[in-house]
């Protein structure tokens, strides 16, 4: 095992440990603010694992979209509403938590089966992909050739959503003055 491989293993162990620990932290923290912060760590370490798998685009998207945008939005919402959401396991197990555990268990079994089959070289009909598959260059190439129209349409969909968000989010000033927002439910 040369130095490079040892480095890869070290990075893998570090990222995997961080992933596991932060994943548990997301679920176990009572304060949703800390949960959201742990989720950032979780997504960042997942991005490291993607990098190790040569999925650079997915890693970058993970950090930009999820850690950068989505979780920051979670934090904003938490800050607005105050960090007093329900404790996750309060009030005993519910039907929802039962199905959540069931779904998580199913995914765990699936992962174990796939890893075992791969390790034993018994995966039938594995996908054959080229080295360039999933690289940022290849994805960029698809965006401006085969999926040009989808790429552009996505930007229009996002524009429509942004305009809609502004329409719903702003309250006309005259209306507010008229009656002190009688129709807005109490927060």
């Amino acid at each position: 095992m040369d130095a490079g491989e040892i480095l890869v293993w070290l990075v893998w162990i570090g990222a995997a440990t961080a992933l596991f620990a932060s994943g548990l932290a997301v679920v176990l923290f009572q304060n949703p603010f800390y949960s959201a912060l742990s989720l950032i760590v979780n997504l960042a370490s997942l991005a490291v694992l993607f990098l190790l798998l040569s999925a650079e685009f997915v890693a970058a998207a993970q950090v930009l979209v999820y850690a950068g945008a989505v979780v920051v939005m979670f934090l904003f919402v938490t800050a607005y509403l105050g960090g007093r959401a329900d404790a996750p396991w309060a009030g005993g197990p519910t039907l929802q938590s039962f199905f959540a555990v069931l779904a998580a268990g199913a995914i765990a079994v699936e992962v174990v089966v796939v890893i075992a089959l791969t390790a034993g070289d018994r995966l039938t009909d594995p996908a054959e992909i080229s080295d360039a598959f999933g690289s940022p260059a290849e994805i960029g190439r698809l965006f401006i050739s085969d999926h040009l129209l989808a790429f552009e349409a996505t930007s229009i969909v996002l524009l429509v959503a942004a305009v809609g968000g502004v329409i719903l989010g702003t309250t006309a000033p005259r209306t507010v003055r008229a009656e002190g927002r009688a129709e807005v439910p109490e927060r």
């Binding site: 989808a150 969909v157 305009v163 005259r174 209306t175």
Partner: protein
Amino acid sequence: MTEPLRHPDIDWAALAPVLTLLGTACFVLLVGVFLPRGVRRPFAAFFAAAGLVAAGIVSGILFALDDEATTLVRDSLARDRLAELGQIFVAGAGLLAVGVAYFESRGPRGDDPRVAEDDWRERVVEGYVLLLTAVAGMAFFVQANSLITLFLGLEWFSIALYVLCAINVHRIAALEAGLKYLIVGSFGSAILLFGSAFVYGGSGGLTFGEIAAGAADGERLFFAAGLAMILVGLAFKVSAAPFHMWTPDVYEGAPTPVTAFMSAATKIAALVLTLRLLLTAFPGEEELWTIAIAVIATISLAWGNIAALTQRSVKRLLAYSSVSHAGFLLMPIAAGNALGGRALLFYLVPYAALSIGSFAVVAARERELAADVTLDNLAGFGWERPFHAIAMAVFMFGFIGLPPAGLFLGKFYVFTAVYERGWTWLVIVGVVATVVSVAYYLAVVRAMYSGSAELRTAPAGGSPPRDWPLTTTVFGCLVLAVATLVVPDPLVDLARDSLAFLSFPF
């Protein structure tokens, strides 16, 4: 890695209807905010109408030019007469909605008028912009020729509709409608997306042509499961039972002009696309999808009609009527023959006219009462507003499938198509559903002309506000509904031409 990029050829002509609508929307949005409040409403309405007419004309020109089907931008979109006819239909539905929405000013259900009155007026520019973008999304959606553009088109017009439903933000009912539609609609979209992934996995293709070509050597189970999930996702949009649970609440809570638009245009877009998708991407699975759709149609007919019988709110009644008509509209797709395709395209036009027209009359009554319209407070309407009431009566008789509206022929076509497929049982289901529907449609007519002698002389809502755009729209719907019965041939020919490039399994 350094091979030169092969840029796709872009057929701008085929994109012109969508770009016209988007360009108009951007223009109205950017200019509208700088105008003084007094002229915003006529400005936005005029350019919305102009944009819709222009898009319809562009689609019409393309329809005349294209005698064969082609695709553009690496098969992402289709350029054929079916898409162009669908675009003309949705642009027409949007145009009718422009008139209904013009004087929408207040929310029903006892809101404080000082607060709620301003909502639509404050947002009239944005409201018309969203209407234009919704129509643009539908125009894009009916052209979709790959699973990616299908999903994007669906989200595009759905997002615009979610916001339109909630645009009167000071009405809790409107916010509730928007939120419900958002959550249930997203659920439907998620199922559709999941199904698309299965279909891609099972066939290795994203465009409809590739899917059909790759279906044979893929995993059958995944392919069929994906097809089923895509159908479920589309059924949510069509509001077919049992995926209709959002329909009554959203139709009731949304501003009535938005309901009018949604009830017609969403169905047109989703059904035209369903027809294209099933015939071009899943020609080998015809046994599967015809039976699945026949079952969904039967459930919609049963559920929609039975639930409509017990409604007091006219908007909810019409919402369940819309569920039952989703059933009638799915029947010709289930038939899977060329006659069925023509029946679907024919049926859509009188149906859209009746649906928009009847919601427009409800909007008129809502505006003069400042309350939700129920069968009880319709009393006296027939004497106070003779034109609107006669139009409403025609719409109700039309929904049943009686003359003088074109749905009479539409239902006849639909039943013939299903009969030709050999499914007499489905024809019987349709006829029974029609008979049941007589009860609640006539209840509306009876409610309008009931009422004591007092009501006949003293209108309940005072003198009705003048609302010429709405009255014009009602008149337009009436003309369209009657014209499809009197001169059905042009529409039948258009339908036949637009389906010429498709091959039907039965």
